[in-house]
């Protein structure tokens, strides 16, 4: 990925964060912590990696993205809107009656949503079935899953992990958004999953640990997957909860946030600062030419 491509992805991640803020800014509440921590992962997928067509969201050979941690839906809506799957005005309907963007995603309400998730520990099994079906259909499409680290305490995930390796689903790639916080506190204190890489490896997966905010590494890692032929891949992405909203970063209280005018103003400022930096970077890249 060259500097220009990287810049474009950084801009996409910024717009995703802006869209996340847009959905909740008017005094609404939402799971911003895990949405913001996974913004780079989702930006890399939707703006570089996924083979998808917003005009034909049910195209049979599309790559699939399964948001197992359904409460991170704000990041999914933000990316789908930015990618042109639906009119951005829909972002302003969050929490409205019959909104197409409910507090957990619904595939029947919004184009581009692949699964109805929300209850944790469901996404990996569904994604495994998709990967299996795509292999049967001789499709080159791949299946990507975004899981939370708190979610990993659900035993159903490990049933799915066993089956995915047993059936050699190397067209399946999981991101664990390891932001290390869940609603009650630090994840390793609530229910430790460490050593997480060894745990996945022992289930027959090929594992990488990366900085989940480093777009270059995210893109390169995915392009190098499957890391081992015949094995499903997992990328453990170390992230910062609520990344991008300085007042909320790394704080458990912002797992679920009720927007208030003071903090919305601070979030606006934070994002504008990132925007200014990207503008300078953009000019520098233009000057280089």
């Amino acid at each position: 990925m060259n500097n220009k491509e990287l810049l474009e992805l950084e801009k996409s991640a910024l717009e995703i964060r802006r869209n996340i803020l847009r959905m909740v800014r008017d005094g609404k509440s939402g799971h911003i912590g895990g949405a913001l921590s996974s913004a780079e992962i989702v930006a890399a997928l939707y703006f570089n990696l996924l083979n998808i067509d917003p005009k034909n969201p049910r195209w049979i050979d599309r790559d699939r993205f399964v948001l197992s941690a359904g409460h991170k839906c704000l990041v999914l809506y933000a990316a789908l809107a930015e990618r042109g799957f639906f009119d951005k005005k829909i972002l302003d309907t969050y929490t409205d009656l019959d909104s197409k963007i409910p507090g957990h995603p619904n595939m029947h309400k919004l184009p581009g949503v692949e699964t109805n998730t929300g209850a944790l520990g469901h996404g990996l099994s569904i994604a495994g079935g998709m990967a299996m079906g795509l292999k049967m259909n001789k499709s080159k499409a791949r299946v990507y899953v975004l899981m939370g680290d708190g979610e990993l305490a659900e035993g159903s995930n490990w049933e799915a992990a066993s089956a995915a390796s047993m059936h050699h689903l190397d067209n399946l790639l999981v991101f664990v958004d390891r932001n290390k916080l869940q609603i009650s506190g630090p994840t390793i204190k609530v229910m430790s999953y460490e050593p997480l890489d060894e745990r996945w490896r022992s289930f027959g997966w090929s594992v990488r640990i990366i900085d989940g905010h480093d777009l270059t590494t995210i893109v390169r890692s995915v392009k190098e997957s499957p890391f081992e032929k015949g094995k499903p891949s997992v990328i453990i992405a170390d992230t910062l909860k609520s990344k991008g909203f300085s007042f909320a970063e790394g704080k458990v209280d912002y797992h679920y946030w009720k927007a208030n005018p003071e903090e919305v103003a601070r979030a606006d400022r934070d994002l504008n600062i990132i925007g200014e930096k990207l503008k300078v970077k953009s000019e520098n890249i233009a000057d280089d030419k």
Binding site: I60, R64, M107, H108, E114, T115, N116, T117, G118, A119, H122, L124, S125, I126, A127, G128, G129, M130, A131, M132, G133, L134, M136, N137, S139, S156, E159, A160, S162, A163, M166, H167
Partner: protein, 312 residues
Amino acid sequence: MINDLLDPRKTFGEAVIEAAEKNPDVVVLSADSSSGSGLGAFPGKFPERHFEFGIMEQGVIGFASGLATTGKIPVFAAIAPFVTARPYEMFRNDLGYMNQNVKVVGRCAGLTYDQLGATHHSIDDVAIIRTIPGVTIINPGDPVTIKKAVHAMINHIGPCYLKIGSPKMPVIYPEDVDFRLGKGIVMRDGTDVALIGTGTVLSKAVEAAKLLEQAGISVRLIDMHTLKPLDRDLILAAAREIGKIVTIEEHFIAGGLGSAVSEICSQEFPVKMKMIGIGDHFASNGPYEELIGQHGLQPAQICETTLKFLTT
């Protein structure tokens, strides 16, 4: 042949193989459960279309959902409580809420896993699965209709739950019986009482109807093989024309066929009802025929309960 005793699981497995021969999208998922579900021959015939998962029923429901998104028609058969009560949330969210074209089959349902005890009985499956919007529930009462039910559910687009028993069961219907999802079958017509039976105890209801006729009672006997969507027209016709309904099921009275029938009648045409089934307690264990006798499901008991109902 009528009255032949056939193994419901074997019948089911043969029907799935027939369906798979016709439809290349049919795939079978096993939670270490295919061989016990009459599907022992399936992996040999269709090795690429049979997936073994081991004992992980909740995960299998999710995999089935994902497979269905790619155009497959997954059939997942295992012991009934393990595909209903255990993975209920997966059934509700991954199949019902996502409206996926998956066929879940609970075998050895009701009390047919007799001496194995309450962990293996499935007398709440209809109650819990029928709360899930859009799921079709089929509970056929003889080998002929088990076979027809398999083909009907494969041809139906949407999530289905089929339940079958395990002991051999008598053939009640001729091969050409008109079996349609959502349409109950009037097996005999009468004017004094409507008996509505379903599933594994349909044959008991048939025998009970004969005893009642011998006692001079004119019986309308209905096979309610589809429990959802329920044949409301047939139920309301029985309510209007006869006014007395007895339901017979190998299931908790709470939430099963009787409840479903009363939900319709009590609101649209209230009539006297008697529900024969299992009360608010876990069933015991022991030989099947004796076990169902503890819950009044033998023909003579059904006859006696009905006679008492008609005279009080």
